[in-house]
């Protein structure tokens, strides 16, 4: 016979102000199976919890209902209290009298009646509860970092330095990401390469880091502490062990006119190439679609010249399976590279370029060796117009959000330009200057006051070519919208930062959620910014939203510390609220018929096929079996199962059924 204890909390005045707690306690005391029912000012307080513990001992209760605030608030508290008193924590349920009753209804009879119903419902439920033991799962202490940009690099190094193994996967032939393309960085104007490349080398040399460059994620399964990841190592057609990175092949390759991705199409590379001199790993890959041998079947110049005979035309993609405990997503962002604003003539006029292209023009290692020359004819532009918010903050034509970094890098561009072309004039069209950040505002002021960047507050309506000049038409809203027309030699669009290609597919592979713009979604915008809703997967850098370098690095270190914390335990305990397929005596073995329609509803591929064989090993029956490690307890399979052969602890069929009954039948 059930012996239930009910504990009604006043929550100070919060509940008792509108609910007659004493009456609730009185009425529930009469419910069948309730042997103890009290109300008290603060149940969560120490004396409150002691009341519960003592009652459990004295009346040896078989179940406890605490009617107080939301279980999302204090369920752990009271379950802990119960277990301390020797009662299985899962025999304790909470009835939400505060958020769902006293706070949302006025002080009147029906509010108290509702409270009684709510409590009675949980009393009936808890009678059906069964003792459960937490699930223990081991933790594989290896982290997977996806993306080798500055965020990925930082995260990897931080994790590796805590003494744990890291596997880094980078899609491109070299790590470094967008930061390696930048010329100088705001607000200090120190050279991007100079601060990044040492870190890249560190990654390559770190004993705890395994780097898979030119590789992508094929498949992911498993759960926190126990992921299984398949990595596709794309064929580089170069034997990395033999290759010394001498670069002879890259100089001899007859294919020389392939637009370089690293140079943003402003420079060329051969078919066998390293993206840039400081690349890590500094070993070439063959770009099959552009390689004469792969297209025409003859050439093999690289093979001939290679002193160590490292070329492998027959190399195949390789699938590597790794066991992972935690994952850091650091896949970064991209910029809107499109003829997005036809009226701005991007892609139509050679001298209308985007921010990254300007970075390459300004970079000492870039196609112009750092001289600002315009793409069309290589002339040094006298007047350069920079347009901020090209796509950002523009619900009518573009994206609604602010890309955050453009204000700063536009100021930087204006400065760099002025430093390199003293007689030139930079113009900047902007909406607002968003320079929040240490030394940021000062930086922008410097651009305006010392380098005389002409800031014009207003939008550009159109850019068109007229006898060799780019006519930029805009308005100056600070001069009551006076139309402005500038005859520019070059225009730089600060195009919006957007989610990287394939972000959506990747998110779906990893079961993490993403926002409307395909940026990965953090678990909580304020309190859990580096976690995702999927346990064991963390976010770093601009894959979550456009970010500058300091923010990306900070976030990466945050993610790394989360991983380190996770790896500090050998075992994780998980709530045992998971589904199970029933088993019973032969010849039935289970009421499951093995239709396996449940298999495809499971978001975690937790449903497996179990074969029941007789002692001669002949198959008797195939049944569903749920892997308790993988199951997260959504219960979708439970509702789907026609023969009611699956049930889920904590929300069993009989529990929820009883709740519905009890909730509606006053007695």
């Amino acid at each position: 016979m059930a012996r239930i204890g009910v504990f009604i909390c006043h929550c100070g005045e919060n509940i008792s102000a509108t609910v007659d707690c004493h009456k609730v306690a009185g009425v529930t005391a009469e419910l069948p199976g309730v042997v103890h029912s009290v109300d008290y000012k603060y149940m969560c307080s120490d004396p409150g919890q002691t009341m519960i513990k003592e009652a459990i001992k004295e009346k040896n209760l078989t179940g406890v209902v605490v009617a107080a605030c939301s279980p999302r608030m204090h369920e752990p508290t009271f379950r802990k209290a119960c277990s301390e008193a020797g009662l299985n924590p899962y025999l304790c349920e909470m009835s939400n009298l505060r958020e769902h009753c006293s706070w949302v209804h006025p002080k009147e009879e029906v509010t108290t009646e509702k409270a009684i119903d709510l409590v009675r419902t949980l009393v009936e439920k808890v009678k059906k509860n069964t003792p459960l033991l937490p699930i223990r799962v081991p933790v594989t202490k290896t982290a997977l970092v996806i993306g080798g940009g500055v965020a990925g690099i930082q995260a990897s190094l931080d994790i590796a330095n805590t003494g744990h193994k890291v596997i880094m996967v980078e899609r491109e032939p070299s790590i470094g990401g967008h930061m390696s393309q930048l010329s100088e960085t705001f607000p200090t104007l120190d050279c991007s390469q100079c601060i990044l490349t040492p870190r890249m080398v560190e990654v390559a040399q770190h004993s705890n880091i395994t780097l898979y460059s030119y590789s992508e994620i094929e498949a992911v399964e498993g759960f926190i502490g126990n992921f299984k990841v398949k990595i596709r190592k794309k064929a580089k057609c170069v034997d990395e062990k033999l290759c010394t990175g001498c670069g002879l092949c890259t100089t001899k390759c007859p294919q020389k006119k392939i637009l370089s991705e690293f140079e943003q199409g402003l420079g060329f590379r051969p078919a066998i190439y390293v993206p840039f001199p400081q690349a890590v790993p500094n070993k070439p890959v063959i770009d099959k679609p552009n390689c004469t041998y792969f297209q025409k079947g003859k050439c093999k110049v690289c093979e001939i010249v290679c002193p160590t005979k490292a070329i492998r035309f027959d190399q195949q993609d390789e699938i590597i399976e790794v066991e992972i405990g935690a994952i850091v997503m650091a896949t970064g962002f991209n910029i809107l590279k499109t003829d997005f604003f036809p009226e701005y003539g991007y892609g139509k006029y050679k001298d209308v370029i985007d921010g990254l292209q300007f970075e390459r023009l300004a970079s000492a290692s870039g196609p112009t060796l750092g001289e600002i020359k315009r793409p069309s004819d290589g002339k040094v532009p006298e007047k350069v117009v920079f347009i901020a918010c090209a796509g950002s903050r523009d619900p009518a034509k573009g994206l609604e959000y602010c890309s955050k970094i453009c204000c700063m890098y536009t100021a930087k561009h204006a400065m760099l330009y002025k430093h390199k072309v003293h007689h030139g004039t930079p113009y900047v069209f902007y909406m607002d200057i968003r320079a929040g950040g240490k030394m940021y505002e000062e930086f922008v002021r410097r651009a305006i006051e010392e380098d005389h960047a002409q800031y014009i507050r207003g939008r550009v309506s159109r850019i068109y070519e007229k006898n060799g000049k780019l006519i930029v038409k805009g308005a100056d809203t600070l001069m009551n919208a006076r139309p402005v027309e500038i005859e520019a030699d070059m225009v730089v669009l600060a195009t919006a930062g957007v989610a990287n290609e394939g972000a959506e597919e990747l998110a779906q592979k990893f079961h993490i959620s993403y926002d409307a713009y395909k940026f990965f979604a953090e678990a909580h915008p304020k309190l859990r910014p580096v976690e995702t809703n999927t346990a064991g997967i963390f976010l770093a850098g601009a894959c979550q939203a456009p970010k500058d370098i300091p923010d990306s690095v900070a976030m990466a270190s945050g993610a790394a510390s989360k991983v380190a914390a996770l790896f500090s335990n050998d075992e994780l305990t998980r709530e045992p609220l998971i589904a199970e397929v029933n088993r019973c005596a032969p010849p039935l073995f289970s009421t499951c018929t093995g239709c396996f329609l449940c298999q495809s509803v499971c978001p975690y591929n937790a449903i497996e096929r179990e074969q029941i064989n007789d002692r001669n090993g002949n198959l008797i029956k195939e049944l569903s079996k749920i892997n308790p490690g993988l199951c997260q307890g959504c219960g979708t399979c439970v509702a789907l199962c026609k023969s009611k052969s699956i049930d889920i602890f904590g929300y069993t069929n009989s529990q929820v059924h009883t709740e519905v009954m009890a909730l509606l039948n006053e007695y």
Binding site: L266, G267, G347, K373, S376, R462, K466, I471
Partner: protein, 304 residues
């Protein structure tokens, strides 16, 4: 097929040829235009600066009348009228209270659910797919499509084409064998309502439009708004004076271009009514090879 038609003041006056050509073209496609009975001024351009309710009541009445006639689609050739009607429809549907108020002001039931089409939408919806078959005299001219302001703005209400870089008219022209040119002034201001009060400004603004079109080799400017036409056509002497040039590129209505292509006579289309004589030069046999837009940037020079 019967379709509602709101002429607005200009169709009756300054731009009769617009109405004529439109009726002619519609007729050629078996479409009958039913003029909204007892229609009134749409309120452009002054009303919405003076009195919001008035500026809504005027178009509202037109809509109500159309509804009463059971006209589900109303074509509104004048861009200004089109803009007023559409904006009004939008505002009324946004705000039930306002709708009732306006209804009581005009003393009529109003649902504000009829489709309001500008001339291009009208062509796209009822004519475009049938047109190629009918073209007997391809409109073989380098054409500058001029949209002006009201046809495409405010975008969030009209939801019609791209405000800064509209292309719909260009497509229509292409359908009838024309070659739309890529030019810079397709949505610049022509001076519009200042046509009477500040001729000097209009001369300047319209002048620049005509000039750019001419510079880029346009043989004809096609418009879809009486006001634009007025300023580009009637004000030509003034703008030429301002430009110190003698530009004679003709300005015709989209409907007239269509009409010509399907072989209607100049008379039916009222071409003789224009100030700048409509002399259409044929597109040169092999035109300036229009450079294809290239994302690829040649960097040989750079590397030098």
């Amino acid at each position: 097929m019967k379709i509602g038609f709101y002429p607005g003041c200009s169709m009756k006056g300054g731009s009769r040829e617009y109405k004529e050509s439109m009726a002619a073209v519609a007729g050629a496609f078996g479409i009958e235009l039913i003029e909204v009975p007892d229609w009134n001024c749409c309120g452009a351009t002054a009303a919405h600066n003076l009195n919001k309710e008035l500026s809504l009541a005027l178009p509202a009445r037109i809509l109500a009348l159309a509804e009463r006639e059971g006209l589900s689609d109303i074509v509104v050739p004048c861009a200004a009228c089109y803009n007023r009607l559409t904006v009004t429809k939008h505002e009324l549907n946004e705000n039930e209270e306002l709708k009732n108020k306006i209804a009581s002001i005009i003393g009529m039931e109003i649902k504000a659910d009829s489709g309001i089409l500008n001339i291009i939408q009208f062509i796209e919806k009822y004519i475009l797919d049938k047109i190629e078959a009918k073209v007997i005299r391809p409109f073989n001219h380098l054409t500058a499509c001029y949209y002006g302001c009201l046809l495409v703005r405010p975008h969030n209400i009209l939801k019609f084409d791209r405000p800064e870089n509209p292309m719909t008219m260009d497509n229509v022209i292409r359908k009838i064998g024309g070659t739309p040119i890529d030019w810079a002034f397709k949505v610049e201001c022509c001076g519009a309502g200042l046509s009477i009060s500040r001729t000097d400004l209009v001369a300047k603004l319209s002048g620049k439009i005509v000039e750019d079109a001419t510079d880029r080799g346009a043989q004809v400017i096609v418009v879809a708004c009486p006001m634009c036409h007025l300023n580009l056509d009637m004000r030509r002497p003034e703008s030429n004076k301002y430009l110190r040039k003698n530009l004679d590129v003709p300005v015709i209505y989209i409907t007239q271009a269509l009409g010509l292509a399907i072989g209607l006579s100049e008379k039916e289309l009222g071409l003789q009514r224009h100030y700048v004589p409509v002399v259409l030069k044929e597109k040169p046999a092999d035109p300036e090879p229009v450079k294809p837009a290239k994302k690829v940037l040649q960097t040989q020079e750079l590397e030098a």
